[in-house]
Every structure is written in structure tokens, then in C-alpha cells.
């Protein structure tokens, strides 16, 4: 029996482990499928990580190392090259590695920190042939940054998620020509700063309301046909345009990897594709917590670390059976605000609620209602789907609350 097992040794898992240790528990085990800690940060060699938490611009590996150093100093146990195969509602973990084979661990508490994956081409149903040269942006990033190989020289990118934007710049720096970044929506899903630093600074065109409609080439990609889309996101035939290229990169969304959560009967949220959690990041299964991109896709790793601290601390309290007065305040949204994390508040203490909006809005108020009563209201000059927003609710504002509704009002 272990006190706390953390599935995943990326930024979420490491930060959760440190927070749990600092909250007083010692029997902590991190299970990491890769050969090293750090998760996806290891291949993110660009800078820009850590501005919020450390006040400096770190690379991904540098940011990860800040946490790994602490994990090592605290002597927190970790098993590398270890893949978790199954998790039950009773918190029995089945995992495998070369040294121990397939083994089981009973945990008192579990933190899910498995991260997310990229949406693949198959889900898009793009017409045409199926040659080599089609990659998700993160796979290309791994080839270039981890393996030292270049997947192509003439590139079209579909989707303007952050990894796609980062890779537009990265491939340009490696001598490739990025001919266009096509985005189906009329706005980018990436951070404004990435559009400026990765596309604008390199003269790469962002084609909004465009998509790839056909892939050409027998052995290797020889070109793609792109087209503008109408307001229903349907391609307009008259705008079809052929671009010769040898590579198509896809950056069309990230999906939390919740296969283990499903195995453990954790309730999932249809909007985030992650678990439904309370303010402690505890899921519907008592003692199973979730944090980081497995819970909802974050824009900045700094917020992943912050969220994981909450989960780590709460998991330690769960192990130590610290009980607090219980409440049950569900959080709902108006649709313009797509979701909140947490989705439910069970303890009446100060809580920061994170959320994303479904479109670009300027000069808005975020209003939080309890029934008809306005609990609080915060102004924002601009909100966009690519940027995570947050709002803090004070304990006293929760005192009389029975449910909280989040609504966006354009002023």
C-alpha cells in the first residue's frame, strides 16, 4: 500500500509530488513512461516558460529541471520507463517496465497527470492520398529537437495551435520554407504572443478561415490543395489553391489522455475531455485527483504547476484524513464561457476558477450569479479562445451560495 501514486512525471506530476511532500506525506511514487522526467517540456526547447512562476523566460527543459531538482533533493521516489496499463476505482494501479515486469500497486490516493495528445489526421478525413510527410506538429518537434532530423523542407501547416506556431518558426530556423499556416476558424487558437513571435516576425502568412481539402503525392507529399471556408466552415470550391510542398504539419487541437481515468470510472466533462473536479482537483472518485493537461488543456505551463500544487496538497490532506466542512455548489456556464475548472465547489474557501471562452470578445464583463443574485463581476478588455482566464471567488462570497453561473456580458 502506497500513500500517493502520481501517474505522469511531467510538469504537473512533479509539481504535485513536491506539494504533497511539503504538505507532510513522504510515501510518494511518481510513475513516468519516458526515460526521464519532464514530459513534453523536454522537446520544447524554445523559451517563454516560467514568466509567471519564476519571473524569467526559461526553455522547457530548464523549467522542468527546476522541478526535477527539487524532486531529487526531496528524495521523492520515481520509476522511469514505466507505463501504467490500468487503474481501478479502488486505486489499484497496474504498470509495466523491463525490470519488474507487470506489477500492481494499491494506493491510498492517486493523482492523474498523464498530459494530452495531439488530434490526428484520421479524425479530419482529408481527401486525397496517404503519402509520407504528414505529421502532427509535436511529432515534427520531436524529430527536430530530440532526434536531430528534419522531416521536410517545404511546409504547410494546418491549424494554428501553439505547437504549430512554434514549429513554423522552428522549421524556418532549420532552413525549411513554411508556405502558409491555415486555420479553419476566423481566429487563431494559439497565444497572441506566439502569432507575433513565430509567424509575423518571420513573414509567415496566417490564412484564417482556410483549410486543407486535399493531399497530393504518391510516396511523399507533393502538395496540398487549400480552400477558404464559409461561415459554416465548408470549403468554397472557387477558392481552391494548390501549394507544392513536401510536408503537412497538423496542429488541430489537443485532447487530454483520459483512458486510465475512464478505466477508473472517473466522471469526465464533455467540454474539457478531462475529469469533472472540485476546487481541490479531486475527481468524482474519492482519492483520485487530476491536474495539468489531462484535466484541461492549459495555455501556459506556469498554470499547470499552480494547479498541480493544489492537487498535491489536497491529495496529502486526503491521505492524512483532514476533513473540512462540506458543500456542494455546482458551477455552470452560459456557452460563451465554454467551461470552468473546477466544475464544483465542495469547500467554502477562497477559490480561483479557470475558464475559456468560445470566441473572441472585446470589453466584456465576467459575471458570476447565484440564481438571480450577482455574486461578483470582473471586467476584461479582451478574451480569446487561445488564452485561459481566471477569476477568484472569496470564501465570504461563497457563504450563501447554492450554485454559481458564469456568464459573459459584452459591454
Amino acid at each position: 500500500m502506497r500513500d500517493l501514486v502520481i501517474i505522469g512525471g511531467g510538469p504537473a506530476g512533479m509539481s504535485a509530488a513536491i506539494a504533497a511532500y511539503e504538505s507532510g506525506i513522504r510515501d510518494i511514487l511518481i510513475l513516468e513512461r519516458d526515460a526521464q522526467l519532464g514530459g513534453i517540456l523536454q522537446q520544447c526547447i524554445h523559451n517563454g516558460f516560467g514568466l509567471h512562476n519564476f519571473g524569467e523566460e526559461l526553455t522547457g527543459p530548464e523549467y522542468a529541471w527546476k522541478y526535477e531538482k527539487q524532486v531529487r533533493q526531496l528524495g521523492i521516489e520515481r520509476k522511469l520507463n514505466t507505463m501504467v496499463l490500468d487503474l481501478t476505482e479502488d486505486k489499484v494501479i497496474t504498470a509495466t517496465n523491463s525490470e519488474e515486469g507487470i506489477f500492481q500497486i494499491q494506493a491510498k490516493a492517486v493523482i492523474l497527470a498523464m498530459g494530452c495528445r495531439e488530434r490526428s489526421k484520421g479524425a479530419l478525413n482529408i481527401a486525397g492520398s496517404r503519402p509520407a510527410g504528414i505529421f502532427s506538429a509535436g511529432t515534427a518537434q520531436k524529430f527536430i529537437n530530440m532526434k536531430g532530423y528534419l522531416p521536410g523542407k517545404n511546409v504547410v501547416i494546418l491549424g494554428s495551435g501553439d505547437i504549430g506556431l512554434i514549429m513554423a518558426r522552428r522549421m524556418t530556423l532549420e532552413g525549411a520554407k513554411v508556405h502558409a499556416v491555415c486555420e479553419l476558424m476566423p481566429y487563431s487558437g494559439g497565444l497572441a504572443r506566439n502569432i507575433a513571435q513565430c509567424l509575423d516576425d518571420f513573414g509567415i502568412e496566417l490564412k484564417l478561415s482556410h483549410t486543407v481539402v486535399e493531399i497530393h503525392g504518391k510516396d511523399r507529399v507533393e502538395g496540398v490543395t487549400i480552400a477558404k471556408v464559409d461561415e459554416n466552415r465548408k470549403p468554397i470550391a472557387a477558392t481552391r489553391e494548390y501549394i507544392p510542398c513536401d510536408t503537412l504539419l497538423l496542429s488541430v487541437g489537443l485532447i487530454p489522455e483520459n483512458e486510465l481515468s475512464k478505466a477508473a470510472n472517473v466522471n469526465l466533462c464533455r467540454t474539457t475531455n478531462g475529469a469533472v473536479v472540485d476546487q481541490d482537483r479531486q475527481t468524482s472518485v474519492p482519492g483520485i485527483f487530476a491536474c495539468g493537461n489531462v484535466l484541461h488543456v492549459h495555455d501556459l505551463v506556469d498554470f499547470v504547476s499552480q494547479e498541480a500544487e493544489i492537487a498535491g496538497k489536497a491529495a496529502a490532506e486526503y491521505v492524512n484524513q483532514v476533513q473540512e466542512a462540506s458543500a456542494n455548489i455546482p458551477l455552470t456556464t452560459d456557452g460563451k464561457i465554454r467551461y470552468t475548472v473546477p466544475q464544483v465547489i465542495t469547500k467554502k474557501k477562497d477559490v480561483t476558477v479557470y475558464f475559456r471562452v468560445g470566441d473572441i470578445y472585446k470589453n466584456v464583463k465576467i459575471n458570476v450569479f447565484d440564481g438571480e443574485k450577482l455574486v461578483l463581476s470582473r471586467k476584461r478588455p479582451k478574451v480569446a479562445p487561445g488564452e485561459m482566464e481566471s477569476i477568484t471567488i472569496k470564501a465570504e462570497q461563497l457563504e450563501a451560495a447554492t450554485q454559481l453561473h458564469f456568464a459573459l456580458e459584452v459591454m
Binding site: 523491463s98 515486469g101 479524425a123 481527401a127 521536410g152 532552413g175 510516396d219 511523399r220
Partner: protein, 479 residues
């Protein structure tokens, strides 16, 4: 000098090679692609048809029914997944009911066992998710499903384990008659054999023309498919056909042996034998017609789409002939070619015997092949024993499908050896899951490069010019 050269490593060539490998013969399989099962075998409906479809007395009917009877044993010996899920042909009106009755009669004539026609209520019991518009169905309990490339890889692997040779990237350019047989040339190689069997699928007419036989004409008929996520696999249990009509053969909905749901195929006659492009019209057509069979098809759960080319002959039947001494054609092997393949192999073996080939059973012939899925299907104790012997079985490479490094190494080392990314995919399912190789392909390339002793950037997706990387980054050699 070989005794038998087989041109084409599809399911027909593979099953013939395996059947012949039990005899004391020197056998060589020639394949123009970088791997086996790359033509019509790779992309089709994966159905073992019961045999009520082909006309009474045709070779198609006879070999379909016989092949369907043989298939379960063949799959068991080769460690290939075979599920006897049964087939349904559903009808929506009185015209369909008449056609279904005719299919029933034809099936009886063809010798298909256990056929019956059921009404709406019984149909609903068999398939609760079937469309409310379906009024009757032909039930064929002997219908089954199998994975066509798994079967072909296993058949050729078993033939090779029993001594047959395989030459990939051998595109036959010319054939010369010699005193004792034939010389078969590629652009840079030549093999000589007493007997030649033409199993070249779409190109079997081209091979026939090389020996001066212009009687065969094969054209491609395009079939597009959509594959849905495993979470849709429980919507049906049978393979569900629509009643063929003047409007076409309809769209089938079927479970696959791996638990996905398969929708398709479209049916469009084309000219270009290399055109395997999917189309926007194809997707729309499949989804629209498949919706007729089930109450709801979750089109949004598509994980991939693909296109196959059926090799349609000019006689309406399979063309299995011996146009001259020592040469046998198997041409126009469209549906039910997969179902018939074990019987085609038996039939061709008898033709060879009639043509003067001596068949002496070989000592030490082993019909059994260890399944590609052996590790996956083992008990936890057995898996742990295997991990202790080979630690690579403890390292998961493909996280979505749970494929280990050990299984990938097996795929690269066992007959017929995988030499590219798609070859590993077909043998292990690595890269076939939700992320479609996003996470694991860089690592599989590393394993392929190390095992094949080739540079990382030379590893391909499916041979030829399908390289994954074009060279090292600026930090390396590429400038």
C-alpha cells in the same frame, strides 16, 4: 532454378505459397512493393462471405463456399484472428424481400449451410440498433470476419518458415519462356522457375501479356471506407449488408476483428491502377448510405479513412487458367477473393499437379505459426515470464494500443520481416490507435534503423521514396 515462382504477395499468392510449402519444392514469391499484402489485400471489407452472392455453378460460388469452410482452420493454424459473427442482408421493401428470397435460394444451390430468412421482429432481436425501416433479412450464420493483411502476413511468414523465399521490390518487367520453364525479370534481377503462377492482382493482365496472352483484362474498381473508433464497435455484432439493387450493392456496416466499426465501400470504376485517393464525395456517400442500415451512425467517431482497388476481371468470374505449360493465371480475383483464397490455393495446387508438378510431402513441415498477437493475448504470468527472458516486452512503445518494444522487434525479425513503418503497423497495431503514431513513430524508426542497420533518415513509411525525414538538422550534416 525454382520449382514455383509466384508473382504477387497478396492473399492469393500468400495462400498458394503456404499450401505449396508443405511439399518438397523450391518456392519464390515476387512482390513489387516493399512489403506483402500491399494491393487489393490491404484495403477491403475484411469479410469471409458465406457464399450466397455468386451465381450458381460459377468458380466464385464454388471456391467461396469451400474457402469459407476452410478459413477457420487456416486462421487457427496461422494464429490469425477470425470471428464467426454471421452476416445479415437487410431489406427495406417488397422488392428487397424478393431479392433476399432469391439470394436464399442461390445460397442453398451453392451449398451454404444454415441460411434463413427472418422478419422484422427477429431481426431486431439479432441487431437491436438496426434501422426501424428494415423489414426482413437473410441470416447467414457462416459469415465471418478476418483481417486480410494479418492473414496474408501469417500465410507468407509460415510459407517462409517452411522454406519459401520472398523477394520484395521485385517488379516483374519481362518473362521469357525457356526449355524447362520461365525466366522472370525485374529491371535489375532475374529468377528462373519451372512453374509460374500469376497472382498479380490489378496487374495480372499485364503479366499475362508478357507471355503473349491478351485474353485477360483487369480494371480497378475503387472502394472507399471509413473506420470508426472502437467505442462504436458494439453497435452491431453481425456484418450488415444492404440488399443489392439496381442502385448498387449498398454500403456495409461491420465490426472488425480489432473491435472497430467499418463502413463502406463505395464502388466506382476507374482507369488508374494507382489511384487510391479518398474523396469528399466518397465520405458523404458512405455516411449517407450507412445511415440507412442503423438507427444512428456516429460519423464524428471516424479515426481514419482509406481506399482500396478491387481487381475486376473481364469475365464476371474468377479467371483461373493454365494458358500454356507451366503457367497459371489467377486473375479477376475480386470479392469474394479473400473468402475463397484458401480454396483457390487448393484449386491451383491441383492444377499444378495436373500440369506435371510432382508434389512430395516434406518432412518437418509445420503448419503452425506463432500468432503476432501472442504477447498481447498472454496471461499476466506468461507475460512476466516473457519479460524476464526478453526485457523489451516490458517497454511499451505504442501507448494507445499498448504495443511493446518486444512485439515490434518480433515484427522486424520474423518472417516476413517488416522493413518500414507501415509494415510494423500492420504486424503489431503500433501507430493504429488514437494518436496515429504521433508519439511512437520517432521511436519505431529508431528500432527499424538499428535492426536494419540503416541511417535513421533512410527509414520509410512504405518503401520507395516514402522517407519520413529528409536528413539531419543544421546541427548535423544537412546544410
Amino acid at each position: 532454378m525454382y520449382d514455383v515462382v509466384i508473382i504477387g504477395a497478396g492473399v492469393v499468392g500468400g495462400m498458394i505459397a503456404r499450401t505449396l510449402s508443405k511439399y518438397d519444392l523450391q518456392i519464390c514469391i515476387l512482390e513489387k512493393e516493399n512489403d506483402v499484402a500491399m494491393g487489393a489485400t490491404k484495403a477491403n471489407s475484411a469479410i469471409v462471405h458465406a457464399g450466397f452472392d455468386a451465381h450458381e455453378g460459377s468458380l466464385k460460388a464454388r471456391l467461396n463456399v469451400r474457402g469459407s469452410q476452410m478459413m477457420e482452420t487456416v486462421c487457427r493454424e496461422l494464429g490469425v484472428k477470425y470471428i464467426n459473427n454471421g452476416s445479415l442482408v437487410i431489406g427495406f421493401d417488397e422488392d428487397d424481400r424478393a431479392t433476399i428470397q432469391a439470394l436464399y435460394q442461390r445460397g442453398i444451390e451453392n451449398g451454404v449451410a444454415q441460411l434463413r430468412v427472418v422478419d422484422k421482429a427477429a431481426l431486431k432481436q439479432l441487431e437491436p440498433n438496426i434501422s426501424d425501416n428494415a423489414v426482413c433479412a437473410l441470416v447467414a450464420p457462416t459469415g465471418a470476419i478476418v483481417c486480410p493483411y494479418d492473414l496474408t502476413i501469417a500465410a507468407i511468414g509460415n510459407a517462409m518458415d517452411n522454406g519459401a523465399e520472398l523477394k520484395c521490390n521485385f517488379s516483374v518487367e519481362n518473362i521469357q519462356k525457356t526449355e524447362n520453364g520461365y525466366k522472370v525479370f525485374s529491371c535489375n534481377d532475374c529468377v528462373e522457375s519451372r512453374f509460374v503462377i500469376n497472382c498479380a492482382g490489378l496487374y495480372s493482365d499485364k503479366i499475362a501479356a508478357m507471355i503473349g496472352d491478351d485474353s485477360i483484362c483487369v480494371h480497378p474498381r475503387k472502394g472507399e471506407y471509413i473506420l470508426l473508433d472502437k467505442e462504436c464497435g458494439n453497435l452491431v455484432s453481425h456484418t450488415i449488408f444492404q440488399t443489392p439493387s439496381k442502385m448498387g450493392k449498398g454500403i456495409l456496416v461491420s465490426l472488425t476483428v480489432d473491435g472497430n466499426l467499418l463502413l463502406g465501400p463505395t464502388s466506382v470504376d476507374i482507369q488508374d491502377k494507382e489511384n487510391k485517393n479518398t474523396s469528399e464525395e466518397g465520405f458523404a456517400d458512405i455516411l449517407e448510405k450507412a445511415q440507412m442500415s442503423l438507427q444512428a451512425i456516429p460519423g464524428g467517431k471516424a479515426i481514419t479513412s482509406f481506399c482500396g482497388l478491387r481487381a475486376v476481371g473481364n469475365t464476371g468470374d474468377f479467371i483461373i487458367t493454365a494458358p500454356q505449360k507451366g503457367f497459371i493465371h489467377t486473375a479477376g480475383i475480386e470479392s469474394p477473393g479473400l473468402s475463397a483464397s484458401p480454396a483457390i490455393a487448393e484449386y491451383v495446387t491441383n492444377m499444378l499437379k495436373d500440369n506435371g508438378l510432382t508434389l512430395t510431402e516434406k518432412a518437418g513441415y509445420n503448419p503452425i505459426r506463432v500468432s503476432s498477437h501472442a504477447f498481447r493475448e498472454a496471461s499476466m504470468e506468461e507475460k512476466n515470464r516473457m519479460i524476464r527472458e526478453e526485457p523489451a516486452y516490458g517497454r511499451i512503445v505504442c501507448r494507445c494500443e499498448g504495443v511493446t518494444e518486444g512485439e515490434i522487434l518480433d515484427a522486424i525479425r520474423r518472417n516476413p520481416k517488416a522493413t518500414d513503418l507501415d509494415g510494423v503497423k500492420r504486424r503489431t497495431r503500433a501507430q493504429m490507435g488514437r494518436c496515429q503514431g504521433g508519439f511512437c513513430s520517432p521511436y519505431i524508426i529508431e528500432l527499424l534503423a538499428a535492426q536494419l542497420q540503416i541511417p535513421y533518415e533512410c527509414v520509410t513509411k512504405f518503401g520507395g521514396a516514402s522517407t519520413i525525414n529528409i536528413g539531419k538538422t543544421k546541427g548535423g550534416q544537412l546544410q
